[in-house]
């Protein structure tokens, strides 16, 4: 971290005038419909981690549908170069108790999100690691964390029921929510409760358009009772995570076993219905099969997907339309891909241009993709390490796999709560480091390659550089911003001025919106 703190102004005089100004902000320029190019940039920001101007042009030329159709079948995209570039997958704890490749799984997420051609798949991974949040601080096993992400990546565009079943059976999830060791006759309710509340349907019963169904006293009708939570917990008793200490392989070094002696057998009464539960390891999938078909699940999931990818306040019509697609593909192995396609093709999708704040992960990884970003090893650190384990994403409040609690970084629909005074100043530090680090600095492992950027621009003229950066980062920018940047860069900017221009744009409110 190379930042030096500077004060905005010498005294309170300037600060005072800024304070007064706060009460009367200039009105927002009337929202104008995005241009065709901006629509492509909007799509790439929302469903991917953004892209360089050249990629935007290529997608625009081929047509957004061609791009999206390919993205929704990620196995058809050759991603071997990105995969080969990742640092090695972490192993379980060393025999001597030390942890090998600490945080490698987390850096690998960042490396993959930045480099992978399967961009929609990786954007869905970000959604699912927020939705099915687990934390390293309790799982404490690098290999398990890594394997968990593989499940989210492989199933994230597939069938929702299968994804939930796969997540529920993962050792990391069993440990995180204590279904590991959940045993008859006194169940541990942790996983059962969060399965229903966070992962599947929420507390309140919902109509297909996402509106709450009121009960006779006017309060929302609950989806389930405490007794239902206990019944679901009993139905999922009997699982344990077992380790093979001599085998550090992430895929074979541990396994999940089912012990019928600690399973509570028999049918369960759940949400007013009798559910047959086999007394074997399929008990969990049986329960999930029953729960994912409850009527609140589709509107709950669809609303959350829309809130993460499109708008914080989706209309009832938007939710209802996508819920229809969700339900029509309930048993389709590509259910979620179909839902994503429908979301992007809904008439409301392009009405949400620049209507959301960027999540911190989007803010940082987007910059590395729109510009020639470099993730490289530095002294004793893996590629991208400055973003994790106390680094910039930690300081910005969204370090993947370190959620603040069982629920994740913010409540869907309340993304603006992430925009606070701490965040906006932390991002000045982030972009001082990312945009300001030089290749010669051997402690920098996340940076923008200025020479590569110059090559991409293809001109040393200030106005050309300004136009390129504005297109890359803020869809071209307003005439006033264009003028400000051109004036800052002058006729022929040197590298420091170029870095300054990056810092200015990356810290601008225009870049902070999605």
């Amino acid at each position: 971290m190379t930042g030096i703190r500077l004060r905005l102004s010498a005294g309170m005089g300037v600060a005072l005038s800024m304070v007064v100004g706060l009460a009367n902000p200039p009105p927002a320029i009337a929202d104008q419909p995005p241009t065709a190019r901006a629509q492509v940039q909007h799509l790439l920001r929302r469903l991917a981690f953004s892209a360089s101007p050249a990629t935007v042009s290529a997608v625009a030329a081929a047509g957004s549908d061609v791009w999206l159709r390919a993205q929704l079948t990620p196995s058809g995209i050759d991603d071997s170069a990105a995969i080969a570039s990742l640092e090695p997958e972490p192993t379980t704890t060393n025999p001597d108790g030390t942890i090998p490749n600490e945080f490698a799984y987390e850096r690998r997420f960042i490396q993959r999100a930045v480099r992978s051609l399967r961009q929609v798949q990786m954007k869905l991974v970000l959604h699912w690691i927020d939705h099915f949040a687990i934390g390293d601080e309790k799982v404490h096993d690098q290999a398990m964390m890594s394997r968990y992400e593989t499940v989210l990546r492989n199933g994230g565009l597939g069938n929702f029921e299968q994804l939930v079943a796969a997540v529920a059976a993962e050792p990391a999830m069993l440990i995180w929510l204590d279904n590991d060791g959940n045993a008859a006759p006194i169940p541990n309710e942790n996983f059962a409760r969060e399965l229903m509340q966070i992962y599947l349907m929420g507390v309140d019963r919902l109509n297909a358009d996402g509106s709450v169904i009121p009960g006779p006293n006017g309060n929302p009708l609950p989806n389930y009772s405490q007794a239902d939570v206990q019944q679901v917990a009993l139905a999922m008793t009997g699982f344990n995570v077992v380790w093979n200490d001599s085998d550090p392989n992430p895929n074979t070094g541990f396994a999940v076993s089912f012990d019928p002696r600690s399973h509570y057998p028999g049918a369960r009464q759940i949400m007013g219905q009798t559910v047959q539960v086999p007394s074997n390891a399929t008990c969990m999938t049986a329960i999930i099969h029953f729960l994912v078909r409850q009527p609140s699940v589709a509107p709950f999931q669809v609303r959350e997907l829309l809130q993460r990818f499109v708008t914080e306040a989706p209309s009832p019509r938007y939710i209802a339309d996508i819920v229809q697609v969700w339900n029509a593909h309930l048993d389709d192995p590509n259910q979620l891909a179909n839902v994503l396609w429908a979301i992007a093709h809904h008439p409301e999708f392009n009405t949400t241009y620049r209507s959301m704040p960027k999540q911190p992960v989007e803010l940082v990884l987007g910059a590395l993709r729109q510009l020639p970003g470099v993730l490289r090893p530095s002294v004793g650190q893996g590629p991208g390490d400055d973003l994790v384990s106390g680094g910039w994403l930690t300081l910005l409040g969204q370090e993947p796999y370190f959620p603040p609690s069982v629920f994740s970084f913010y409540r869907p629909g309340q993304l603006s709560s992430l925009t606070n005074t701490n965040l906006v100043l932390q991002r000045t530090g982030t972009f001082t480091d990312v945009a300001g680090s030089k290749p010669s600095d051997d402690t920098a492992n996340v940076l923008i390659d200025i020479q590569a950027l110059r090559t991409r621009v293809g001109s040393t003229a200030g106005p050309k550089i300004a136009a390129y950066l504005l297109d890359a980062l803020v869809d071209g920018g307003t005439p006033a911003l264009q003028q400000t940047m051109a004036s800052y860069l002058g006729a022929k900017p040197d590298d420091d001025q170029l870095r300054g221009a990056l810092w200015l744009l990356l810290n601008s409110p225009s870049y902070a919106v999605n």
Binding site: I4, V229, S416, T432, G436, T478, L504, S510
Partner: protein, 424 residues
């Protein structure tokens, strides 16, 4: 860091420019009290925080049941280890003579504060379970921060922000400051939101890298912040960035004037957060409300080591904070209150943990606090239908007293009238 972020659904549109800043208008007459709220995130187990010594037999039976088999489910604290932290409703009664309650043995420092008459223990406090059945973390934290029940789907403002707006509270750095790194709902309403600072507060500053053209860079940055925004969300970001820049000097002035170097070296995140609040209060930030948070109370498994660690931290951190304020002559206006999502189940599960429960305890500490016990534990032999402790004190009753302490009108803020508990 700790709490999931909430803001108002009513911020919808974000067209209003929120803001912490009403800083320059005159301070309204009335209360000058400062409230420090601490969220114990995850749902703290009240029974092992304040053990109901007067019902020790029933407590032991719940925490060490013979059927189903012990010792797997044992969470009882042995009677002998509670001797030093025992207390009665009258703080003057010594531990050796006390028969009614005992703090967790890890909370020796809290026992001393209690003996000094500065600590109120509210027992049996919680959400009315008949109305909020979900025992959900988010709903529990939401209810405590809004002072409402059954409004989770519609979204209500934080009761403390509403109170401060209603009394026209202001401060050099705004009326509300969070040092948890997050913006809590408690400190957000439709007009204002808290200044959010990192811990330590010294890190609150714009970073530019220190190249040759710093002045031009910062000038251009200010020009960009002054440009008309292209959308409501951009306007909101712009307002936050502008406000942060405007307050940077004020925060730094306090940080350098109050280095806090005579504070006991912080041993934990909570300890450090409270140290920052002490620096801000003594340094003259002028805020009326501060927020800190401690996470980890969701003890579904291995509760004992986890909770003991957390309570040790809480007890020590609170004691450090109170005594530091006292030493610097700043304790007379400050009241500290803890709250948590909900309590936990009296009987343990087979993972040595407890699942989500109902009534719990909360603490209120300060020179203006009338030490003692408020509320009571229910009869431990009469649990509710879900095996939980039935609520004895409605959580809004505690909030009502705190609104009064802040100079607000509890009935107006809560939309209901609660009898006065009288701890402050």
């Amino acid at each position: 860091m700790t709490t999931r972020r909430h803001v108002l659904k009513g911020l919808g549109g974000l067209a209003i420019t929120p803001f912490f800043l009403r800083s320059m208008s005159a301070q309204a007459a009335g209360s000058d009290g400062i409230l420090v709220s601490i969220l114990l995130a995850g749902g703290n187990d009240g029974l092992n925080t304040v053990v109901p010594l007067g019902q020790y037999g029933a407590y032991k039976k719940l925490r060490r049941p013979s059927d189903p088999p012990s010792p797997e489910t044992a969470l009882d604290i042995p009677l002998a280890s509670l001797a030093a932290t025992a207390f009665d409703a009258n703080p003057a009664v010594s531990a050796s003579a006390a028969r009614t309650y005992a703090f967790n043995p890890a909370m020796g420092a809290m026992r001393q504060l209690y003996a000094a008459g500065r600590l109120a223990v509210v027992a049996g406090v919680g959400l009315p379970l008949a109305e909020v059945a979900s025992l959900d973390h988010e709903v529990g934290q939401y209810d405590w921060q809004t002072g409402t029940i059954n409004t989770f789907s519609t979204g209500q403002p934080g009761w403390l922000a509403t109170t401060l707006d209603s009394v026209g509270a202001t401060g050099r750095l705004g009326s509300m400051i969070s040092v948890s790194g997050d913006l809590p709902l408690l400190l957000s309403d439709r007009a204002t939101q808290a200044l959010v600072l990192p811990t330590p507060i010294d890190n609150f500053g714009i970073s530019t890298g220190g190249g040759d053209d710093q002045d031009q860079l910062l000038q251009t940055y200010q020009q960009i912040l002054a440009l008309p925004p292209t959308s409501a969300v951009e306007a909101y970001d712009r307002a936050v960035a502008t406000g942060a820049g405007a307050l940077e000097n004020g925060v730094q002035d306090i940080a350098s004037a109050m280095p806090g170097s005579d504070y006991p070296a912080p041993q934990s995140d909570l300890d450090q957060q409270l140290q920052q609040i002490a620096r801000l209060i003594i340094g003259g930030a002028g805020a009326r409300a501060y927020f800190a948070a401690q996470d980890g109370y969701d003890t579904h498994s291995a509760q004992n080591p986890t909770q003991v660690g957390l309570l040790t931290d809480l007890s020590t951190s609170l004691s450090n904070f109170y005594h530091y304020l006292k030493t610097h002559g700043a304790s007379s206006k400050v009241v500290i209150a803890t709250f948590s999502d909900f309590g936990r189940r009296p009987s343990a599960n087979l993972d040595f943990g407890t699942d989500h429960g109902a009534a719990s305890v909360c603490f209120v500490l300060g020179d203006r606090v009338h030490g003692g016990v408020y509320g009571r534990y229910p009869d431990l032999t009469k649990l509710d239908d879900n095996g939980n402790l039935a609520m004895q004190v409605d959580f809004r009753n505690v909030i009502s007293d705190l609104i009064g302490f802040m100079g607000g009108n509890p009935t107006a803020v809560l939309g209901m009238t609660m009898p006065r508990l009288g701890f402050v």
